[in-house]
Each structure stands twice: as C-alpha cells, then as structure tokens.
C-alpha cells in the first residue's frame, strides 16, 4: 500500500509537470488577451494525433517529432488567433472568445472524427512500454522523460518571460494593455505570439497524453479541457505560478485516489475546486476580484 502511494505520488508529480505546461499555456493566453481558450483541450488531442501520424507513418521518434509538431501547433494557434479571436471586439470580448473557441473546438473535434474515426489509438515507443527501477520503485521511462522535458520547457518559458525583451512586453501587456500600447509595445503582435506559444505547448502535452493515457480519441478533448480549466481556476486565472502549483497538486491527488477508485478520482479533483472556490473565489494565487471597467 505504502509503496503504491509513493509510486502514485511520483507519477503524479511528473505528469503534473506536463499538465502544468499545458495549463501555463492556457493561463498565459488569459493573462495577455483576457481570453479563455476552450479549444486547448482538443488542440492537445490534435498534437497527439500529429505525433501519432509522424510516428506510425513516418517512423519518427516521439520526442524528435516534437521538433515538427511544436512549430506546427504554434502556427495553428496563430491561425486560430487571426481568424477567430482578433475580429472580436467590445466589452463582452471574454465571453465571446470563450464561445468562439468552444465552437472552434467543436469544428476541430468533428474534423478529427472524420479523419481518424472514433477508434482509440495510442502512441508507442520503447520508453512507453519499459520501466526503470528507481529507489526500489518501477517507473515507466516516458513519465521520467516527459516530466524532465516539462520542467525544462517551463523553465525556458520563465526565462523567456523574465529575461527577454519580448517577455517584458508580454508581462507589460498582462499588467495594463493601454499602458503597454502607450510605451510603444505592439500589443497585437504580442497577443498573436502569446496565443501561438500557449497553443504550441499542447504539442508536448498531446504527445505525453497520447503515450500515457492508455488510448485517446477525439472525445478525449473534453476530459482534458475540464481538467485544465479546473487547474487554471484553482491556481487563479492569469497566474503562471498558480497554474503550476495547482496542476502538480491536483494531478498528484488524483493519482493517489486512483489507487482506490479510478472512477471517483476525477470527482475528488472537482470537489477540491469547489472547496477552493468557496474559501477563495479568486483561486490560490489569483488576483482578487476587482470592479470591472
């Protein structure tokens, strides 16, 4: 029992890092654009299918394939931004964007069903099926690699945000769009690039999800987006650190509860969300509620 729990905690921490990466994409988009990207879930599945096509038809290794899928998802993100988000104007922009991206998710889901059929597929490689013995526990290599990759990418994202000129303009836009515009930041460009980056991370998330979830189909997008939304609200919308903390915390809890009852694990996940919302409506590390202008 104790051993199972340790294993579950380690799995949870590593997978939580990957979820953290996807959630950071979502919360970054919200912070810069005031937009909640409901399509994030299905885009993860698109990333997973891209990896699937590359590995099955072109025999490219999953991790090497990321060099193709990450830029591809970046471009898809920018395309979605230009086609559906940029035209939205006015006070109800946030609500509208949520509905628009929801509709985009429906369209993508329909297309994926059409192209790939509802049958479940899984990503396979040697590191998915074999395990390493660490401190007396068995751990699948994919968890180890994916967790390490996620940590590296989150650190890289932090470096970009806090050490580069672009990152500074992103943070300025998060703080105050009008002021950012006034000091000469091209807010439209920052927004498009941020949306692209926020979507690009789904390529990594999709590859890991496809390899570790035991099979996915276009419908899996709902499962993902509901978790990601719970995570970003729990951490506080717009807070990057909050999203990271919340995802590691939640995925670990889910992974531990999963030992006793797989079907109730996800309910615990949402129950935690409800409790946090009752105690702290703005989330763990979120900005407090302010009057809307």
């Amino acid at each position: 029992m104790g051993r199972q729990i340790y294993e579950a905690v380690i799995d949870g921490l590593l997978v939580g890092a990957v979820y953290g990466l996807m959630a950071v994409g979502l919360t970054l988009i919200f912070g810069v654009l005031d937009i909640i990207n409901i399509a994030q879930g299905i885009l993860v599945i698109v990333g997973a299918y891209l990896s699937y096509v590359l590995s099955v038809h072109l025999h490219i290794d999953l991790f090497l394939g990321l060099f193709i899928t990450v830029p591809a998802m970046f471009l898809i993100g920018i395309a979605i931004y230009w086609a559906f988000i940029r035209p939205l104007r006015g006070a109800e922009r946030t609500s509208m964007s949520l509905l628009a991206t929801y509709a985009v998710a429906l369209i993508i889901e329909g297309v994926l069903y059409w192209v790939f059929t509802p049958g479940y597929v899984q990503l396979n490689a040697w590191y998915v099926t074999s395990s390493i013995r660490l401190f007396g526990f068995y751990l699948s290599y994919i968890y180890l690699f994916a967790g390490a990759l996620a940590v590296v990418l989150v650190l890289a994202l932090y470096a970009v945000l806090y050490r580069t000129r672009f990152g500074r303009s992103v943070r300025a836009t998060v703080q105050d769009q009008t002021a950012a515009r006034l000091v000469g930041i091209n807010v439209n460009r920052v927004a498009a690039l941020t949306f692209g980056i926020g979507v690009a991370v789904t390529a990594v998330g999709g590859m890991v999800y496809g390899a570790t979830s035991g099979g996915f189909n276009p419908n899996s997008g709902y499962d993902l987006i509901s978790r990601l939304l719970a995570i970003v609200i729990l951490g506080g919308l717009g807070s990057i650190a909050g999203a990271l903390v919340a995802s590691v915390f939640m995925i670990t809890i889910e992974s531990v509860v999963d030992i006793w009852s797989p079907s109730w694990a996800i309910v615990v996940f949402y129950a935690a969300l409800v409790v946090v919302l009752i105690v702290r409506p703005s989330g763990l590390l979120g900005r407090p509620v302010t009057r809307e202008q």
Partner: protein
Amino acid sequence: MPVRDGGGWASGRRGLRPALAWRGGGILVLLAAAAAFPLVFTNPLVTTIGVDTMIFVGAASAWNIFSGYSGYISLAHAVFFGCGAYTAGIASRDWNLNGNVIFAMLPLAGLVAAGIAVPVGLIALRVRRHTFMVVTIAIFFIFQLMAFNFSFTSGTSGISAPFLVWDPQTFNNPFYYLALAIAVATAALSWLIRRSRFGLQLRAIRDDEGRTTSLGVRTMWVKLSALVISAFVVGMLGALWFYFIAQVLPASGFDPAFDLVIVLMAFLGGLGTVAGPVLGALIIEPAQQYFTQQFPNAYLSQITLGAVFVAVIVLMPRGLVPTVGEKLTSWRAKRASRAAATVQAAGRRKTALAADPGPAVDASAPENLR
C-alpha cells in the same frame, strides 16, 4: 431646431402605433400557427421536429432569463436539463408510473432542478463573470461524472421511460402541446421579467455590477433567483424530453452540445431580448434536425454547427433582433425625417421667397433628427 417642432416627432409617434399592432397581430398569428401545426402536418417525423423545436424554444428563453438579462453566461444548464430528465426517470421507475400521470412529474422535475440550482448558484456566482463560465463548465462535468458513477442513475446504461401504449399517429401531440405551453409561458414570463423591477435589477447587474451593488441591490439574491427560475423551466423540459425520447443516458442527459446550442440560439436571435431566443430556436433546431435527417454523417452536422456558431459570434455578435431592430428604427427615422423635411420645405415655400428654396434643409434634416 425648427425640424423638431415640425411634423417629425408627431409622424414618428404615429408610426409607432401600427408597429405595436403589427407586433401583437404577429404574435397571435404565430401562436395560431404553432397550435395548428400538428393538425396540419400529421407526419410523426415532422411533429417530432416540432416537439424538439418547442423544447428548445422554452429552454433558450429560460436560459435567456438568467444569462441574457444578467450577462452571466451559464454553460451549466444541461445540468438542470439532465437532472429534470433523471428525476422523471427515477420517479417513474421507482413508483411504476405510466399513462397520463407521468406528466405530473414535470413540476417535480422542475423543483428538483431549481433545488440543485441553489447550491450551484451559491458556489458559481461568487466569481467574476468570465470565471463564472468556466466554473459552470466544471460543474457540468461533475454532474455528468456523477450520473456515470452513482448507482441510482444506473450508470452507463441509463434509465428507460415507461412504455406508453398510445396511438403512434398522435403519439407526439400531447408532448407537442405541453412543450408549446411551457415555451409560451416561458416567453411570457421572460417578457414580464424584462419589464419588471426585478428585470431592471438583472440588467443593471449586466451593465455594472459594482455600481448596482452600491445602489443597494442585493445582487447575489437577484442573480440566484433568476438562475433558480431558469433552472425550474429547464428541469421541466428535461423531464418532458425524457418521456418523449423514452431514455436518458449520462451523455445524452448531460450533453455539452445542449448548452452550446441554446447559447447559440440566444446569440443568433439576440441576447437579452424576449423574441431573440425564440427566433433563434425556431431557426436553428428545425435546421439541425433537418440536417441530421438528410446527412447521416454526424461529424458533418457537428462541423456545421460549430461553423455557424463562429460565424454568428464573429459577424453578428449582437444577434438578429437588435440588428434588425436597429435597421428598422433607422429606416423609420429616415422616413420620418424625410416626411418632416417635405412638410418643412412646403411650409418654407409658403412663407419664404421663391428665391430661397429648401435643398439645403432637405440635405441637413436627417442629420438633425439622428
């Protein structure tokens, strides 16, 4: 401005009265057409579309009472719909109900849905407006999961309705008229609420919640009441839908597409108007049903739904009713000002010299009125 004292306003007012008469007459004609519909089109395939459409007219109107007026976009109404359906299912399964008595379960289903709306609202309405949408999505998934996992909902196998031994030719009629009655009552309620103090408070919340609170409106109470009213109607419709479809599954009772479709209907027709959601439902639901019957490829209809949704949001975010209403108003104003200009020009011609005709007045008059 001389134009204002002239015939402009008077003719504008005269133009309004026939509009009211037109509106009343239009509503009566629509109601008569709706009542006669199953008598004219007796084909069960067609009346099935009629029942579905009426259910969505009611659901979209009820959704609009809360979300359209308060500005809090709820994506959890499928929860109330599913809870209504499951309440009816569990009640008729455990109490062995059959025949006309099943319709007595509708108010019960509505009450259960309204009861569930209270804690849902108390939790979800604490957060900011866009976070609210996300929280309602999360609540929706919680309920769907519970329907899958609890034993009294029979898990994935769902619940079947009692088998009704009615004439298949007229089987749809009681469902149709009940759905029609609920839809009409909801639209009337929506109209009454919009005109009432309560409706004013709701719309004030939509425009500026902070200021509304500071003016002494108990915003939480107002929002929660609207949500409960809305949930009651949707719960009843869920029960009706369950008896009509004869089965409820976790994925069909708690269907994410249900939320999206009623939101789309309200947006297409016009968010926060009385006629908008009705119009939207009357357009979208028959079209969707027709699509499904014509194209068995379910993915294509899903893609179409998404594409229409995006098009509506990007191209016409305010909806048909406000857009068309504005066009009508500006057209009427133009007509009125043209009439005013002619009257004035005629007046000038009588009093002024022939050397000072009125083309300048004619050109400037529309701007003055606008």
